[in-house]
C-alpha cells in the first residue's frame, strides 16, 4: 500500500508531558531504525529538528497519524493540539496524561494561583512573598516572548479535540507502541474508540492471582512502610491497597513483578467512566464490619484517599474540574 514515494507521515508531540512517552517509542530500539525507513516522521521535537512552522506549513490531513502525549496544562497546548487535529487524519492519545490528565491532574485540587505562589514564592530556597511570578507582565523584559498561561484546570486531550484512539499507560509498554505504530504504517488503522489495552482488569495477568481470595475483609489498611508482606500473596488479602481489580490490564503487571502494588495508571476497565469511583467501590467492598464508627476508623486508615484513588485520573473526573482562584 505504501511505496517509497508514499511513506506514511507520522508525528509525535508532547503537551504537559515528561518525556516518558517519548522513551516508550525510543525503546523500540532497533525497530525505530526500521520505522525510519518505512515512515516519514515529520515532527518529533525530542529527536528531530522540525519546528512548529514546519507543521503549520503542512496541508490539512497531511499527517497520517499524530501521537499526542502529555496533559493539556497551558493555553498553548490547547492551541497546538487543535492545529495538529487539523493537520492529521488520526489522533491517538498517547499515555495516561493525554488519556486522563495523569498525575499532574492532582493540580486540580488547587487553584493555579496557589500553585504559582508555592513554586515561585513559598519554597524554602526562594521564600520571598514579593518575588515576581512568571506571568507578571509588568516585570517582564520587553524582549520576552509571550509566556503561555496556565489553564484554570489540567485537562485530558479529549476535552479539547476529538481523539480517535487511546494508548493507556504511564508510559505505555514499548511493545504496545510498536504494535500500534506498525499497524498504522501498514495501513491498518485502528477503529475509532480503540483502547490499546486489555478489556479486563489487571488481576487477570497478575502473577499473584491464584492467591487472591474470594472474599477480602479488612478492618485496617496497612501502609507500605509498616510491614513486610508475602511476595507470593495478593496485596489486598494482606491489607495493602492494590488497584489491580479496577485497572485495565495490558502492562504485564510490571509493578507487581517488582513486588509493588498497582496504582492504576492504565485507567478504568471498560464501561467505567470515573476511575476513582471504581476504586472507591472496590475498597468499600473490602471493608469489614458493620458498625459505623468502626468503619470510619477503617476509612481513616487510608492516608490519602483522593491521591490514591485519583492519582492518574483526577483531571478526567468531575472532582477534578478545578478550583476557583
Amino acid at each position: 500500500m505504501h511505496t517509497l514515494a508514499d511513506k506514511p507521515k507520522l508525528a509525535f508531540y508532547w503537551c504537559a508531558g515528561c518525556g516518558g512517552c517519548e522513551e516508550s517509542i525510543i525503546d523500540l530500539a532497533e525497530r525505530l531504525l526500521s520505522l525510519h525507513e518505512k515512515a516519514d516522521i515529520v515532527f518529533w521535537p525530542v529527536a528531530l529538528d522540525a519546528r512548529h512552522r514546519d507543521v503549520e506549513a503542512l496541508k490539512d490531513g497531511e499527517i497520517d497519524a499524530v501521537f499526542i502525549n502529555g496533559a493539556i496544562r497551558l493555553d498553548a497546548h490547547a492551541k497546538r493540539v487543535k492545529l495538529l487535529r487539523r493537520k492529521a487524519r488520526l489522533v491517538l492519545a498517547h499515555g495516561t496524561c493525554a488519556h486522563m490528565g495523569g498525575v499532574i491532574g492532582l493540580a486540580n485540587l488547587h487553584s493555579t494561583r496557589q500553585m504559582l505562589e508555592c513554586a515561585y514564592r513559598q519554597v524554602p530556597t526562594l521564600s520571598d512573598p514579593n518575588s515576581p511570578l512568571p506571568g507578571d507582565a509588568d516585570k517582564m523584559p520587553p524582549e520576552a516572548p509571550l509566556l503561555p498561561d496556565l489553564l484554570p484546570a489540567v485537562l485530558p486531550l479529549e476535552k479539547i479535540i476529538r481523539v480517535d484512539a487511546v494508548i493507556p499507560g504511564c508510559p505505555p509498554p514499548p511493545e504496545t507502541m510498536d504494535g500500534v505504530i506498525e499497524d498504522i504504517v501498514h495501513g491498518h488503522l485502528p477503529e475509532k474508540g480503540t483502547v490499546f489495552a486489555h478489556r479486563k482488569a489487571l488481576c487477570h495477568e497478575c502473577p499473584l492471582r491464584s492467591s487472591k481470595p474470594e472474599k477480602i475483609e479488612i478492618t485496617h489498611f496497612k501502609r507500605l512502610f509498616e510491614i513486610h508482606w508475602d511476595p507470593e500473596v495478593c496485596f489486598l488479602s494482606q491489607g495493602l491497597i492494590c488497584l489491580g481489580p479496577v485497572t485495565r490490564g495490558g502492562c504485564k503487571a510490571r509493578c507487581l513483578q517488582a513486588n509493588m502494588p498497582c496504582r492504576g495508571c492504565f485507567g478504568p476497565t471498560e464501561k467505567v467512566d470515573d476511575f476513582g469511583a471504581g476504586a472507591m467501590a472496590l475498597i468499600a467492598s473490602m471493608m469489614a464490619g458493620k458498625d459505623e464508627s468502626e468503619l470510619l476508623e477503617t476509612v481513616e486508615s487510608i492516608p490519602d484517599p483522593a491521591g490514591l484513588f485519583y492519582r492518574y485520573a483526577l483531571a478526567a473526573s468531575f472532582l477534578g474540574k478545578g478550583v476557583l482562584s
Partner: protein, 117 residues
C-alpha cells in the same frame, strides 16, 4: 409538610445499590447534593445492603474532604418505607444544608467552555 420541589427521586431496590459512580454521575448531571436513603441497620431486606451504603458514603466523603467539593453534599440517612413524615423532614434538612453550601459551581471551577472543541 411537603417534600421540597428540588428533590429528584431515583428509586433503587436497596441503598446498597448506590455505588460511588452513581453518586458522582448525579453531580455531573447537575445535582448540587446527593441524599441516599436506606432502611436502618438491621432492617435491610437484602441483609446488609445498607452496610455497603455506609461504607461507600464514608469513603466518598473522605475523598470529597480532600477536594473542593464539600463532603456535606453527600449524605446517607435511614428512612424506611412507611416513614413519610420522616422522609420529608430528612429531605428538607438536606435541602437546607445544601442551600447553605451554595450551588456546586461555588465549589468548582467551570471547565472553560470557551476552549470548546
Amino acid at each position: 409538610m411537603e417534600t421540597p420541589p428540588n428533590i429528584r427521586e431515583v428509586r433503587v431496590m436497596c441503598s446498597g445499590q448506590v455505588g460511588p459512580d452513581m453518586i458522582l454521575k448525579a453531580f455531573t448531571a447537575g445535582a448540587d447534593g446527593v441524599l441516599i436513603l436506606g432502611c436502618e441497620p438491621g432492617g435491610c431486606h437484602y441483609r446488609e445492603g445498607n452496610v455497603h451504603a455506609i461504607k461507600r458514603s464514608l469513603l466518598v466523603q473522605a475523598v470529597f474532604e480532600q477536594t473542593p467539593v464539600h463532603k456535606k453534599r453527600v449524605h446517607l440517612d435511614w428512612v424506611s418505607a412507611g416513614q413519610g413524615e420522616r422522609y420529608v423532614q430528612v429531605a428538607n434538612k438536606m435541602v437546607a444544608s445544601v442551600r447553605e453550601l451554595g450551588p456546586l459551581t461555588a465549589d468548582l471551577q467551570e471547565r472553560g467552555a470557551h476552549l470548546g472543541r
